[in-house]
Symmetry: C2
Subunit: 363 residues, 2 copies
DNA sequence: GTGAAAGCGCTAACAT
DNA sequence: ATGTTAGCGCTTTCAC
């Protein structure tokens, strides 16, 4: 029955055949190849396999090599789920934004995902659609998914609720949102809207404009409020009088800018410059000017905010305050990963500066 | 020491106090509140708790209610990781696209994520950056994460590799990519690029154009190949001669279209119409035309593909073959979920038609 | 350098 | 209607 000849004849093949049978059975039953399978095939314990695949020490190079080859051969793939349960680290992160379809946010997503990928994390993406309930539901689901951290972009959550979630997540990074007290597990990154608006106004002033309007976007938005403050500071800086009637709120899309501009221009026909809440609103300004027979930039100079990709494509090409959106996404992700990796010296409150890009909508 | 009086005096409070101590200890040690804590607090077995929180039957409404309240009170949150390990279902899905920053894909993402959210799934988003290695790495990571299914968008993977991944994922939906053999765990959704391109060419022909160029996008892309076929069919249909030198490949962004157009126009100065691979490429065509002093549409008519939001905003407004991107994303997600939920009658090969939208870039 | 045992938090299958 | 047992696939801790 058991002859030495048989065994020594083709031991490897026998072994391989046997394992193939086992693996075939596994695949029949739709079962994963596990660390136990690798261990059995290699004739070592599961621990040794674990050490090999995780590149931990305390194992000879020779056995590691052998185990790695076997793992490869029998099609072993580690289970992130099991690993997450055992280690309490999922290597998944959350990114919560209002709307990926908005080019401003999609650029942020791209920057964040790039870095997450480079760092070995996967990214859960969630859209809130500016809906608080949906945002809370999303955060709950991320909490259940055991994410190692999350980036929240332009969160509309009330302060109390937001604080509560920050406490529940291991780590969070907030984009364009401030919190009252500094927390060890939370960092914020804000675009310096005030400075940006100031720059625009100063530029307008230097060009000899005296009557400068602001199409201010949605009243409730933090960015809108900050841009209005910058507008006021810019006027003061240049010794102009702040006239509230030259400021008008609107929806942050093209149509909003169009309506607001028509209203503003009908009341102030000698307006010579307009700062728009964002680039889309600025496109609305263009439309209204065209309709009213005002030339841009000869009659009216226009500056937008954000520099979305098509700002440089529309006619006239739009001058705007550029935010490096992809860089912002990368920075947020870098900060999050630093927090996770317990980097002591990571800055908790970052500000990034927009850059004034001059194109054809200003002289 | 132990007097019945003490016990009966305020049993509930004692219990509550005790549990609070336990929970405080837990939170001190940064431990999760588990199903076992709820079970202990409620004085039932873990199974009963499990049944309660999962709304399974075989439990009285009364106990379910009581357990749910306790769970809520002590801050229990189910562990998706543990559940995934036990059930072999993660409630996570993967979405693999070339680039979220591209408005075509970001709209698809939005549609897909909306439906995933409604259906109780979370979505891992991955960008491939048109890089095959990165795509494979992404798929590997999704496999490790135990996703219940994945949507692959415009995959550049060689057929063999793609087939292999399809076999390894529980379910996949392919967008804009075909496979040789129908598989039970895979569906495909394709935009009818051929028909779209044909329509465009026929329209150009009807307008009296005789020399029509194609800025064809990336050579490896399926869409590019199909659009080229449609271009050829369209020419043939209208009795034009196919001249390969009027077709030029490029990167699928503005810059690519710009470069390609400059090249094409310098060699063929009498070109009177251009079909662009997508809207971004078409914007690049605009830029090049402007630089070369060609008016659109008077000197050159342009049609794009996709109809991204700003196609209707640029000047001139771009005529284009519209795809309902958000609808496509929703359809892909719906199909994936149907596959997962073992819907027998789900169609494995879907095609959606683009619509020719005429604006100002054509006469 | 390697292995055995226990456990992460949950649920399927089988009791009762 | 509720409880018990035995995992899911991996890592941690301690032993050798």
């Amino acid at each position: 029955l058991y002859s030495p000849a048989n065994v020594s004849a083709k031991p490897t093949n026998l072994h391989a055949d046997q394992s193939r049978i086992i693996l075939d059975q596994k695949s029949m039953m739709n079962k994963r190849v596990t660390i136990a399978d690798v261990a059995e095939e290699a004739g070592v314990s599961m621990m040794t396999v674990s050490r090999a695949i995780n590149h931990k020490e305390g194992i000879s190079d020779e056995t590691r090599q052998r185990i790695l080859e076997i793992a490869e051969r029998i099609g072993y793939r580690p289970s992130g789920v099991a690993r997450a349960l055992a280690t309490n680290r999922s290597c998944s992160l959350g990114l919560v934004i209002p709307d990926v379809a908005n080019p401003f946010f999609s650029q942020i997503v791209r920057g964040a995902e790039d870095l997450a990928y480079d760092s070995g994390y996967n990214l859960f993406l969630v859209n809130t659609a500016e809906d608080t309930e949906r945002e809370e539901a999303a955060l709950e689901s991320l909490l259940e998914k055991h994410v190692d951290g999350a980036i929240l972009c332009s969160s509309r959550l009330p302060a109390e609720s937001l604080n509560n979630y920050i406490d529940n997540f291991p780590f969070t990074v907030l984009i364009n949102r401030e919190i009252s007290s500094t927390k060890r597990n939370c960092a914020t990154i804000n675009v310096d809207d005030i400075l940006g608006a100031q720059q625009a106004i100063s530029f307008f002033a230097a060009q000899g404009n005296t009557l400068i309007g602001l199409i201010a976007g949605p009243e409730g938005s933090t960015s809108s409020q900050r841009r209005r403050i910058g507008y006021q500071k810019g006027l003061k800086e240049n010794n102009f009088v702040y006239q509230p009637e030259l400021v008008i709120n609107c929806e942050p899309q093209i149509e909003g800018g169009y309506q607001a501009t028509k209203q503003l221009l009908s009341a102030h026909k000698n307006l010579s410059a307009v700062l728009a809440f964002n680039d889309l609103v600025a496109f609305g300004v263009f439309q209204a000017c065209e309709e009213l027979g005002k030339r841009v930039p000869e009659d009216i100079a226009v500056i937008g905010f954000d520099d979305i990709p098509l700002a440089s494509v529309v006619k006239p090409r739009l001058s705007t305050l550029r935010t490096d959106k992809r860089g912002l996404g990368r920075l947020a992700m870098k900060t999050l990963i630093q927090l996770i990796e317990d980097d002591e010296k990571v800055e908790r409150n970052l500000t990034i500066q927009p850059t004034l890009i001059l194109r054809e909508s200003t002289i």
